[in-house]
């Protein structure tokens, strides 16, 4: 069975960005750069729909030829 790891890699990247933005938001809050905190918070929130979109697009990718046919129907 052939597997598509594109979605796995993309979702891992989104989660890494999540961690990075979270860290930056918290740090900028304690450095009293509140506008920067807001920007990172919004970025963090926008990563969630992105992750859901990636999941929906990628969940049926890969597999053998017969598998793909079955998923299309």
């Amino acid at each position: 069975m052939k597997r598509s790891y594109l979605g796995v890699i993309a979702l891992c990247t989104t989660l890494l960005l999540n961690i990075v933005f979270m860290q930056l938001a918290v740090h900028q809050y304690f450095y009293e750069n509140y506008a920067a905190t807001l920007i990172y918070t919004v970025l963090n929130i926008m990563l969630f729909p992105l992750a859901v979109i990636i999941y929906k697009r990628e969940k049926n990718k890969g597999g053998s030829q017969s598998d793909e046919k079955r998923n299309v129907s």
Binding site: R3, L15, N18, I19, F48
Partner: protein, 174 residues
Amino acid sequence: MANHNDQRPFKEDNYTHNINRNDERMLDRRGFMKTMAGAAGVFAVASLPWGAVAAKELMGLSEKEYPHHKIAAIKDIPVGESVKFDYPGDHDSALLIRLSEEKYAAYQNACTHLQCPVFWEKEEKEMICPCHHGKFDAATGAPTAGPPRRPLPEIKVRVKDGAVYAVGVKRYET
């Protein structure tokens, strides 16, 4: 149990013969991706309170109102001199320093080390705590020498009608 699948047609005496219980909870590719999307959702929810408190700070909701208090007339403070006053309460001693013709700085003068009163040393242009020789930068209130590690809490001042007024206290840094 004997293997029913050897017989054609096999004897169907139960409905669970095709379930391999060891593999039931295996994390496959799709399950992993679902977990990752869920984790992104957890992060999105977790960052909400940070955004909320930052927005609250930006809108100035946590700024406290302080009464305006006249410290001294400008003509009574030569450049490089300091004036002692009490702000915001009667027992919160504070120090106003005229750094230059236009520039004033005011701090609550309890040393951030052990609360000794800090005074302004005109010749050395530094604020000095006599207890343990802590020194503070007069322009920023930041500690420059000695045991104190935190800056002095700054008092906001405003010049109005030929006098210097204290209008607020910046939040104490922990």
